[in-house]
């Protein structure tokens, strides 16, 4: 695993700007194309937005740890939080067969994560949600 980096963000949506900056720095360091940087930023944004908006039962300050690294032709991202247990892999995908009028407004974020990433694994360790995301690169 080549050295990547990790950062800790607080449970506030404005912290997502720091993620956007971090993905740019990571993408630059690893020579990733613009399109891939966008997708990585989107995936992390969707997951962190869910954690920040819905993960906590209190109004307190919480920290989410985000790690980014590369292992050969594989990019790996790890999210660790102390929010309530939530496995994004158990969420239902939107039903694309329904008509526009009836299409549900929701579930899209997790769908994007699943389609964009090549592997997603979830584990609950002690009081921590750990989500491991991998994306193969050429």
């Amino acid at each position: 695993m080549q050295p990547g980096f990790s950062l800790r963000i607080h449970n506030r949506l404005l912290e997502l700007d720091r993620i956007a900056d971090a993905v740019e720095v990571f993408g630059e360091a690893h020579g990733l194309p613009h399109k891939l940087r966008f997708k990585i930023r989107l995936v992390l944004d969707e997951l962190l937005t869910n954690i920040i908006n819905y993960g906590y039962c209190d109004n307190g300050d919480h920290v989410v740890r985000v790690s980014m690294g590369q292992d050969g032709s594989r990019l790996r991202f790890v999210l660790e939080d102390d929010a309530r247990p939530f496995n994004p892999l158990s969420a239902k995908s939107p039903d694309f067969e329904t008509s526009v009028a009836d299409r549900k407004i929701g579930g899209l974020g997790i769908h994007l994560v699943r389609v964009i990433m090549d592997r997603v694994a979830y584990e609950r360790v002690g009081g921590t949600n750990r989500l491991i995301l991998e994306k193969d690169i050429d």
Binding site: L14, L16, K35, F96, R103, I105, L108, L112, I116
Partner: protein, 111 residues
């Protein structure tokens, strides 16, 4: 997020810029609601200057489309940057939205 509203022969053109995300999409949603309140039915959203969108932004587009369809209105999109197009595809939006490469082509859709 930047939003410039123009009228072009009965079509409301919203030229969008910046980010359409969880912090900013409400601005667009409020604008859509305002247009619906004014009885506007023909809407074009130009994404030429938009450099980021997430599912919150995408949701506002679906909401706008659903509301406009209810009143036999139309919503057309244009000028989405190449690197973002795939996300519109993954979301199924290329099936439900008319999407054009330029604002001019999108305007022609209404005629």
């Amino acid at each position: 997020m930047q939003l410039v509203e123009k009228e072009n022969d009965g079509i409301t053109v919203l030229e969008l810029g910046g980010r359409l995300d969880s912090n900013t999409s409400k601005v667009l949603e409020d604008k859509v609601m305002e247009l619906l309140g004014q009885g506007k039915k023909q809407v074009l959203m130009d994404f030429k200057e938009v450099d980021y969108i997430n599912s919150t932004g995408l949701r506002v587009l679906l909401l706008a489309l659903q509301q406009l369809k209810k009143i036999q209105g139309r919503l057309v999109l244009s000028t989405i940057k190449d690197y973002m197009k795939e996300v519109f595809e993954i979301s199924g939006y290329t099936e439900i939205f008319p999407i054009y490469a330029t604002q001019e082509e999108a305007l022609a859709h209404f005629s």
